[in-house]
């Protein structure tokens, strides 16, 4: 071994190492990311199946609105109250806060429930925007119908925002920029024009395999409801919190919003596609999928994560499997307003309770302490209720085939019953009381045996009839606002005992949640917050 060979080998090694260092970076600096188990918009929405999967995503957000939008619409009215039972359902005071209309932008319910309802609706809008934008680049069979469904759903999500918050930013593309609020009147007009345009491309009915998707009836029903509420829905300020807000006061085309509401009611009634069930309870059972009373439903299925879970909110812990939450109850004045002969009072559970796990009443059940579980009609003190206090709303009875908390009852945001009520109210506003009474009695006919027909009608009768028919269907908040009674005192509040403030008339609009104000500096808060 010579000196030179040593030098040689050392040099070669050095060169080898240097080459290594200079060569490696070129090969291994690639940081591109390609997800394995997700997709990107660039490689999706290519065929009908993929587009329909996108559409299912837009529909699926409807299910989430049955928590946020549903709870706010019901609990802020007098139909549902969530009393604090010991420590149970105290939850930072948010349930009573909603009932007492004490929410604010950053109060417990403001940050949870109001923000939830806002996010849910906009999530639906975003999904529709993403799908509609992608569909501009493809052509698939049924394209126009699919687009019309997405637009109808998007308009309905905007409807919920308009209902709760007033004017909100209108955005119809995928973007991430803050936008300012439209006025409520502008939003109203936007929804009207979207629904009207979309309706042209919707079918009148679907086959069984597609039942539950949007039909021409859905936009018509939403529009009828909107025009009836037009004196509220077109105003960010100036809603009459103590008097009736009439559709007569809102001009539409050559006539009034009452006329417009009647026109859309007629389009539904004259289509010949809709029919009341022969009995009231039938419309809400787990077998209601094909009911001709349904116009716009949230589809449910007795399958994990796909069903309706209202039984969980209302029933006592020991009444169902899995154990329900014993939360939502009804105040005595609402329950007692129902006529004892009215079949519709059957939506409340009261008295001795039974195990409903099988879908039908089984054994009598006991409360947690071992006494018989008997629901009372009154709630003594909503801040410290006992576990058996308050009637429970069980309009959608348990599904005999329920899977855990998931029941197959479809939930109708719009059904034929409401259409008759809209008709009656609009006719009454137009001075046609006789027709209004006919419409109301047509609806009452299936609920009383023998018949107990109304002979006179006024605003109180109209509001009560709406409550008897529509309790638990998210309409009560709108109705109380329209009739000027939303912020009126309620017996259950017991203002003196609980040192509560008088209800504030500005609560007819909810606060824009602080989370959203933070995210979008262009948002202006509603008056009164």
């Amino acid at each position: 071994m010579t000196r030179s060979s040593v030098t040689y080998s050392v040099r070669a090694a050095a060169i080898g190492a240097l080459l290594l260092l200079s060569w490696v970076p070129q090969a291994c600096t690639n940081l591109d990311e390609t997800p394995s188990s997700a997709i990107t918009p660039g490689n999706f929405y290519r065929n009908q199946g993929e587009v329909l999967a996108g559409l299912a995503g837009v529909y699926s957000e409807l299910k989430n609105t049955l928590w946020g939008y549903y709870n706010l619409s019901e609990i802020s009215s007098d139909e549902i109250i969530v009393p604090t039972r010991g420590s149970d359902w105290y939850d930072n005071g948010r349930w009573l806060e909603i009932h007492r209309q004490l929410w604010g932008a950053s109060s417990p319910s403001g940050l949870e429930d109001l923000n939830g309802a806002w996010s849910d609706a906009y999530t639906g809008i975003a999904r529709a925007n993403a799908l509609l934008e992608a569909m501009q680049k493809v052509s698939v069979p049924g394209q126009a119908t699919i687009a019309a469904e997405a637009r109808t759903l998007r308009a309905y999500y905007y409807y919920q925002l308009m209902d709760l918050f007033g004017g909100v930013p209108i955005v119809t593309t995928n973007d991430y920029k803050p936008h300012p609020r439209a006025t409520r009147a502008e939003l109203f007009q936007f929804i009207v024009s979207e629904l009207t345009a979309a309706r042209a491309d919707l079918p009148a009915t679907w086959d069984d395999a597609n039942r539950g998707r949007m039909t021409k009836g859905a936009p018509a029903a939403i529009l009828a409801n909107m025009y009836l509420n037009a004196a509220v829905f077109t105003k960010d300020v100036g809603i009459d919190a103590t008097g009736y807000n009439s559709c007569l006061t809102v001009p539409v085309g050559g006539g009034t919003a009452c006329d417009a509401a009647l026109a859309w009611v007629d389009s539904i009634l004259n289509s010949g596609l809709y029919l009341l069930e022969d009995s009231f309870p039938k419309a809400f059972r787990a077998t209601n999928h094909a009911s001709k009373e349904n116009i716009f439903v949230v589809k449910n299925l007795a399958s994990d994560g796909l069903g309706l879970n209202f039984v969980m909110r209302a029933l006592h812990y020991n009444q169902f499997t899995p154990a329900p939450w014993n939360g939502f109850a009804t105040a005595a004045d609402v329950y007692n307003a129902f006529d004892a002969a009215d079949a519709r009072r059957g939506i409340f559970l009261i008295g001795q309770q039974y195990d409903l796990s099988s879908g039908t009443p089984g054994d009598s059940v006991k409360d947690r302490a071992g006494a018989w579980l008997v629901f009372t009609d009154t709630i003594g003190d909503a801040t410290s209720a006992r576990e058996n206090e308050g009637p429970r709303l069980l309009k959608w009875p348990p599904d005999t085939k329920h899977v855990g908390p998931d029941n197959g009852n479809d939930f109708a945001y719009f059904r034929l019953g409401e259409i008759y009520l809209i008709k009656a109210e609009a006719e009454f506003e137009n001075g046609n009381s006789a027709q209004a009474i006919i419409d109301l009695n047509y609806l009452r006919a299936r609920d009383f045996n023998p018949d107990q027909d109304l002979v006179a009608v006024d605003h109180t009768v109209l509001l009560n009839e709406r409550m008897f028919e529509l309790t638990g269907e998210t309409k009560r908040r709108q109705d109380l606002i329209r009739f000027g009674l939303y912020t009126a005192a309620r017996p259950i509040d017991d203002i003196a005992a609980h040192n509560l403030p008088v209800r504030d008339p500005t609560r007819v609009l909810m606060a824009i949640p602080q989370t959203q104000m933070d995210a979008n500096p262009l948002l202006k808060q509603n008056a009164g917050y």
């Binding site: 090694a13 940081l31 299912a56 597609n210 154990a323 989370t515």
Partner: protein, 1029 residues
Amino acid sequence: MPLVRHVIPALVGALLCAVPLRAQDSTGTITGQVIDSTSRQPLSGVNVSIVGTSLRTVTRNDGGFVIGAVSAGPHRLRAARIGYLPQEQDVTVTAGGASSVQFVLHQSATILEAVVVTGYGTQRREAITGSVATIDPNAANVGVTTNVNQMLQGRAAGVEVIQNNGEPGTGAQVRIRGGTSLSASNEPLYVIDGVPINSAQTEASIFGIGGDPPLPRSPLNLLNPSDIGSITVLKDASATAIYGSRAANGVVLIETKKHGTSVAGAGVEYDGYVAMASPYRYLDVLNGDQYRQFVEQQVQLWLADPTKGLDTSKLSNLGTANTNWERAVTRTAVTHNHNVSFTGGSEDTRYRASLNYMNQEGVAISSGLRRIQGRLNATHNAFDNRLRLGLNVTTSQVDNDYLPYETGGGFEGGVFQNVAVFNPTRPITYSDSLGVHYYEIGPGSRSVRNPVAMANQVQEFGHSVRTLGNVSAEVDVLRGVTGQVNVGVDRAGGLTQIYLPAASPVGAQWNGLARQVNRDNAAVTLQTLLTVRRQLGANGLDVVGGYEYSKYTTSEFGAEGHGYVTDKFSFYNLGAAAVLFPPYSYRNDRVFVSFFSRANYNLGDKYYVTGVLRYDGASQFGIDHKWALFPALSASWHLSREPFMANAPLSLSDLRLRVGWGLQGNPAVPPYASQILLATPAGARYIFGESPVTGVIPTSDPNPNLKWEQTAQVNVALDYGFMNNRLTGTVEYYVKNTKDLLLTVTIPPPAPASTRLENVGKIRNRGLELSLDAVAVSRPGLSWNAGLVFAMERNTVIDLGPFTFLNTGGVSGQGQTGQNSQRIFAGHPLGTFYGPVFVGWDTAGKQLFRCSASPTCVTTATGISAADYRVIGNANPDFTIGLSSQLSFGKFNISALIRAEVGQDIFNNTALVYGTKSDALQDKNFLVSALNDPTDIRDPAVFSSRWIENGSFVRLQNLTVEYQLTLPGFAGARSARAYVSGDNLLLLTGYSGYDPEVQAGYQGLGVRGVDYLSYPRPRTITGGLRVAF
């Protein structure tokens, strides 16, 4: 396979030097002996080397050594050993002659290596300019140590370790200089034998009944603490910047034991212990008699006034038993641990292999951990030690038996919630003609369950098999130039198996639920390094440069079935289910690529400068921000080497000033977070007709600007030594400014997803750390070393981007949904408690709170408004202290570790929810503390300042007494030591809850100091034996 492409040239490059160098013509030999200055006993395992050459050896059992083939002429000889101050002596070697040298080593105050692992290399301790703490694994491996994290506890200033709870194998929250991240991980980077390890969980999480599942396991459970040779904690940016984007939370460098570092020659060591653990504190709920008495009293109240007390129906639910559920679910648990290691080899090839078996029972029934682990380390030197090959392989199997419990949640609960609430007048079991059954309050699904039954019936198991290996090749290319290639592979397979039987009230709602999830984690790392060392007269320069590539992959497959005709199948026959869920699977990949270099310059052993540059790329960042540069600069000045310090006062023997600055990153962004993605979550399904249709929805928003959190850190330190370094220590001050915090920000709707991860906000941490080590006594037959670490840290949120505040710290328990206990807002630290101020009770027993309307305004729970909330506490301690002491006399060695934290507030969530009599309204038990408070039975549990307590504590963490045995008739034993060790022997605290050390990361962003039902922490007594042959 790119890796193969890199490895092969590297190895080829290395083989090119496969030509042995000729020895020098004229050489001599150095022989000598090394002894301990105190005991005058020979010291084995001392590294003896000739400075400036690669010639080195290790002393034998008799302390002797021989170094051959030393070139004639003057040399400087250096002797170094763990725990001793290194020493150098000049020696002149004559050709063909033998020079003799004797070293007398003095024990060092700090038990420190002379050479410290600093990331991609080692440095002499005195040359380190950054903030680096080392931990002596031998001193820290006492008692039952399942995991390296436990060894860090109380032994390094500024390193806070909180075990999640007392569950075997539980993870820990490790914070180096405080957490600076809100949503991203605050855990340090762990580097084992030079390879950064994947801290992803090896097993999918288990069920979590009525709440979040138990906290994840520690990623370090795969390592046997007895295999650890050194632990180095890099704290400041100038030290950690070499790890760039992954270093913002500090770096823990772990080197495993290798042959020759502590034991000379071939040998076998056995080390084993048996430990007994039992809970050292109980929650103290009412016993059966107390509960019966309480209910009867309340019924009397009710009879007198039906608005008060409990009605008579509650009497019917009183049983006759007197069950202490806390005792019923806990036990005295036994742990066995056995290690065998052996070392051997020749001059050129050496190995160390070890085997570990550990079986740890949990102090709660039906829980535990079993580990079998093997490790092999081998080194081979070739070509006159110019090529050094190394191999490390660890493989471990960990079997976890999980207990069904929850770490938060509400209405329903697992074992520990039911321990608190289950009726104590009811028995655990009862018998009838069919046999013995667990008592439940009713048939079928129940939200209140017998905790003993639940623990025994619910089956939740995790099995992880993990193999970690790396091979390295190091070659001296030129004099002072070394090239190195290191390839690491980390592969973990985790299996989670769950069965909730129909017979249990937990599983009844599904009529039995079985789930199995397989997770697979894989990581590969390639490093190539070039190190240059140059001595230029009195000055030294060393530069290391390199490239690193890491790829991490996680994939998972899971399936679940509901409804089984029998519980007998457990999770072994998923297909027999009445309802089968669609199986799911996913895969994630991440890639890190880095170029880095570090230069150390030493000017006359007085001034040291270190510069670091790292250019880091990570795949999961936004398209425009995949790469970033992380620089650091630090310097030190060895003041005591200056002539003007020659006559330093106060017997000052050493003084150094260090200053450093650097940038680091936190890359804890999930893969694909910067992209817009479409996915098919279960919640996006809808029903067309009567059939579910898969829905595809956008699940994330694009963020091309998404990047790492960036922390800039300044560190100033003074190292000092007094009395010939019998007293040494460090005082350090640092400021960490973190910006571009990763936060989930609400995007103005209608963005496809309502939120996305963005970089907003700023947080500042400032801190003072002090450490002090003293050789208090050092004389033949008696020595006493003591160490103190002290740290104080102040954290402030400077800016939260678009948020005025963030509520966090969700309160757990029934009726607490939506309630938060903490608020993050600018000007306040993380861990700020925010809520109503409790002032007392009214005459009716309603709790009263301050309201903002007027200075005298008070209100009951239902009248509290958001405006009444105030800052009501701070979860951060004023300071923390760790005190360790080691006393040796004769054959005894006594060590102790005491830890203290002072000034922190804790939210006693357990007392809020279970310390309220209103639980009795629902036939639930509660804490004894509620019996005598004036709260009315109908008043709800309200979060308020009432439940914020001072959590200061002093804990005797460990006390160990060791005795050096002489084993007669066992002549082969080199040494034998027996010890008894006690963990968690004493806790002094005014905190009324279970344990003032709480891990609370799961309740939301940046949460600290929330105590909710946790797995009991044990007190453990261990007896062990260590024998070396």
